[in-house]
Symmetry: C2
Subunit: 334 residues, 2 copies
Amino acid sequence: MEGTVVVVGAGSWGTTIAALLAPRTSTVLWCRSGELAGQIAQHHENASYLAGIELPKSLHVTSELAEAISGAELVLMAVPSHGFRTVFEGVAPHLSSTAAVVSLTKGVERGTHSRMSQIVRTLCPTNSVGVLTGPNLARELAEGQPGASVVAFEDPAVAAQVQEQLHLGVFRVYTATDVVGCEIAGAVKNVMAIAAGISDGLGFGGNTRAALITRGLAEITRFGIAAGGRQATFSGLAGVGDLVATCTSPKSRNRSVGYQLGRGVPLSTVLASTQMVAEGIQTAAPIVELAASVGVEMPIAAQIAALAAQETSPQAALAALLERPAREEVDDAS
Amino acid sequence: MEGTVVVVGAGSWGTTIAALLAPRTSTVLWCRSGELAGQIAQHHENASYLAGIELPKSLHVTSELAEAISGAELVLMAVPSHGFRTVFEGVAPHLSSTAAVVSLTKGVERGTHSRMSQIVRTLCPTNSVGVLTGPNLARELAEGQPGASVVAFEDPAVAAQVQEQLHLGVFRVYTATDVVGCEIAGAVKNVMAIAAGISDGLGFGGNTRAALITRGLAEITRFGIAAGGRQATFSGLAGVGDLVATCTSPKSRNRSVGYQLGRGVPLSTVLASTQMVAEGIQTAAPIVELAASVGVEMPIAAQIAALAAQETSPQAALAALLERPAREEVDDAS
């Protein structure tokens, strides 16, 4: 469909963005499952991932990827990181040469350590590729709350053009050019949210959580700058903004996974209890490996990676973090 | 008393620090009210400001300032900013020439726009003066939760020496040298916490609060650097750490004042309902004026100053903030 925006992936975030776009722009939501696509089209509700939210009748839902992508001018990729490459391999052959691709996925691919924009670039080297990121708890936005986000493309002209296309009502989109920094901040904050949730679940208070967020931001910033990102990104909506929202909201699923772990629920039980993907569990290990490749230690992420591999307990992971001196503060006086 | 640490001010924070120090160090808590001093000494509880917490029997409590200060090697000032100068004028004549003074007060003096360390320096120009600051919700620490804080003196040797004196158990103290940055971060975060509380009280969610915290941090950082502070301070425990703890915890009194304002309770009623001081209300106006004197605009603090002066409503203040574009993100692409 010419001129349309296509959202690929009907999880809570993809569905929310599609619902915000549809009243203002021709919008298609692609859903892997034909059955869910049919249900959404019939009931104007995504009962699996965004129950209770009435979706606009103008939102077109389909499970036919080729049909959805052909002629799309903007493709928003909102699938989990572990399925991103496979789904995008289905998108690529149908993508117009002038279409821009935006990743809404916050993670790093296992094995290759690729950021999502790198996967897109490998498969479609001539298309513009960027990211949309920020403090965006999906359900709040779906319920009509205001919000703010950042769309980053290396070319500021493309960022401005995509910003124009993203008419999202009270959800404001600002432009940026630091794609690498935005992707790293988005991926790592999910890991930090698991640590913050564990702290809350174990009964620690606001001081401990704030100290974890502070050191999490330091980890994100060191890694992000070593990988080519810019300091300002980590101090902005894509950095501290997204980190704080994810680490402090009961609506964050990564924090919620950590919280349940802290309360003593086994990891397998936690993961089996939700259809949603806790990206922080998936991406902790590749993030630690990727950071090591640019010479950056990630103490918090390393504890979460060990936890995901069942090599430590929530208690031991948090104790290890609380015992470790916060070097950045000590260094300041030396 | 030779070699003792004297905590001046028996509010919740002063009482908490004194309680943490007393089991390890000879500690005196000075309390303005002789009646409260007597009650604390008798019941080992500060029922007015830290009810339900049993204080160490070794904690000496007095309302005699001269006696408390004479021979003290370390004086921790924990009185509200609006009373700081008057109380310190009582401290100064009795202060040993080798005693160090640490401000635990997070505010700016009305009228003079002085930071607390500047008041100390004016009255006792040869004594070392520093600050203790960080994500320190008093009650959590009083209940034995772990915590972390920063003690800053311009001379790193003095910071290290005071760090040695502050044996606070699971409450760790790190050193820093950026006194100005620490004081500005501590003072301004109280103002930001009122804005965050208003947002929560009006029913806005985690995305809006995170965006406010992000922009609050940007305000603090711009102002702090213009006033001579260092970037790293604002990214550390004294900056983002304290800001996040204060803006997100139900135990923060500044956030709580904002929350009640957001729920529709008049300011006078909110302030009359607590003995505790909401520094953010007191210091919003002097902070805006001080920032203007170094050429920095403070949009969030200006709204809270207008609110404190009853010149705007919580609804109008927040609406003004949500409507204002976040320039720092926009600038990134230009």
